[in-house]
């Protein structure tokens, strides 16, 4: 875990608004970007961003270590899914926000890769892998819904998602070691 973020979160748990503001300045673009990508609505994205950061302030103990950026992305995604579900009937799918310590497995090194390089890495995936991955993450629909919309067998969708994530992981490993 990034020691700087660890210290900031410790101060937030001690109700230090200045530390919270530093975290906001550092991560609000990520939260807002995910919210915009999922809702495609400026007003909704701002509401989500506000909700996420106020949740961080009110219950900072939900973050139990690991990659802070990945954690706050999960929180944002789940909040956005709640909003999308309320707008239209959707199949449930979400990421756990509070994982046990043993499951905090996101590689911290990836947190230091800037968004543009992450997007470039994602763009290296074949469209047949990238599209179900992006649909699954940002649209909040289940793999069954993806299969139904695309007309592709469910097994194929799952295989392509796995293959795409493995390839992306390999690309990210390359970025970290370079």
């Amino acid at each position: 875990m990034d020691r700087d973020v660890e210290e900031l979160m410790a101060r937030v748990r001690a109700r230090d608004a200045d530390a919270f503001e530093v975290l906001y300045d550092r991560y609000h673009r990520l939260v807002y970007g995910v919210a915009m990508r999922m809702t495609n609505d400026v007003s909704a994205a701002e509401d989500l961003t506000q909700a996420v950061f106020l949740k961080l302030w009110s219950t900072p103990e939900l973050f139990r270590g690991g990659n802070f950026a990945a954690w706050i992305v999960r929180v944002t995604r789940n909040r956005a899914l709640d909003m999308l579900r309320s707008r239209a009937g959707r199949s449930e799918s979400e990421l756990p926000e509070s994982l046990p310590e043993a499951d905090s497995i996101e590689d911290v090194a990836f947190a230091n890769i800037d968004a543009s390089r992450l997007r470039a890495a994602l763009d290296t995936l074949p469209a047949e892998q990238r599209e179900p991955i992006e649909l699954g993450f940002f649209s909040g629909i289940t793999h069954e819904e993806i299969a139904r919309r695309s007309g592709i067998p469910l097994g194929t969708i799952k295989t392509r998602i796995r293959a795409g994530l493995r390839r992306l992981r390999s690309t990210l490993d390359g970025l970290v070691t370079v």
Binding site: R15, D16, A17, F20, E21, D25, H28, R29, L30, Y32, G33, V34, M36, R37, A45, E46, T49, F53, L54, W57, N67, A69, A70, V73, R74, T76, S91, E92, S93, E94, L95, D103, I105, E106, D107, F110, A111, A115, S116, L118, A121, L122, I133, G136, F137, G140, I141, T142, H143, I146, G155, K158, T159, I161, R162, L165, R166, L168, R169, L172
Partner: protein, 261 residues
Amino acid sequence: MTAPHESMLDDVAVYALGALPASDARRMQDHIASCESCAAEYRALAPAAAAVGMSAEACPDEERGAVVASPLLKARIMQQVRRDPGNTARNRVSRRGPLVWPPYLVAAACFAIALYSSLMNLSLMQQLKSDQSQLSQTQHRSTALAQNLAAERETIADLTSDQAERFNIAEGQIVRVNHHLYLTLHDLRAPERGKVYQAWTLPKGSKVMEPSLTFVPDAHGAAVIALPQNADQTAAVAVSVEPQGGSKQPTSKPLVVQSLV
């Protein structure tokens, strides 16, 4: 690894992406906790899934079509956070704010202010009384000066009047005018220590001189005395040297004796 388990690993990837239905996701979470190969697959793929989300970070570069949150959003959020009573940063600011005095210092300050105010009030009252007294004295002096001035003007008017009767004597004149009597003397010697000059008047039909004013000449030996007696009722005027304070009867030979009849 069996084919069914290979299919399970595909589900692990979908789970890592967050695209499993909630009920399946809970079962997968339980499975990963007990299956090492699935846990290893999850550990390998979850960072990639997280990177998908992190790739969506809003671009701050306006030239590349920035997607940025309104600055007002931060203001709204920070306003709520800083309003939180538990906010230690807020409390630090508060401690740097207004100075809070302990009660005993407040009481001491109040007492000092009250004491100072009382002393100031007392001093101001005394000053006011003193000023009022000085003002009263000044008014009295002013009244006396005005009366003296009026008397002197009357004296001058009488002494210069064409209707005045003037009785020449060796030391000056006795002037009678408008029922008034005046002694205008000059070249008088200063009386001895403890002595003054005293005027005497003889009422008409009387044989006894009555005491009138006492006086001393100025440095030049001059004196102008307005006698209080009615000139029309006075038959004669005399002047003698008498002890300080005057006498009821002349005790020395008069240096002036002048009949007005």
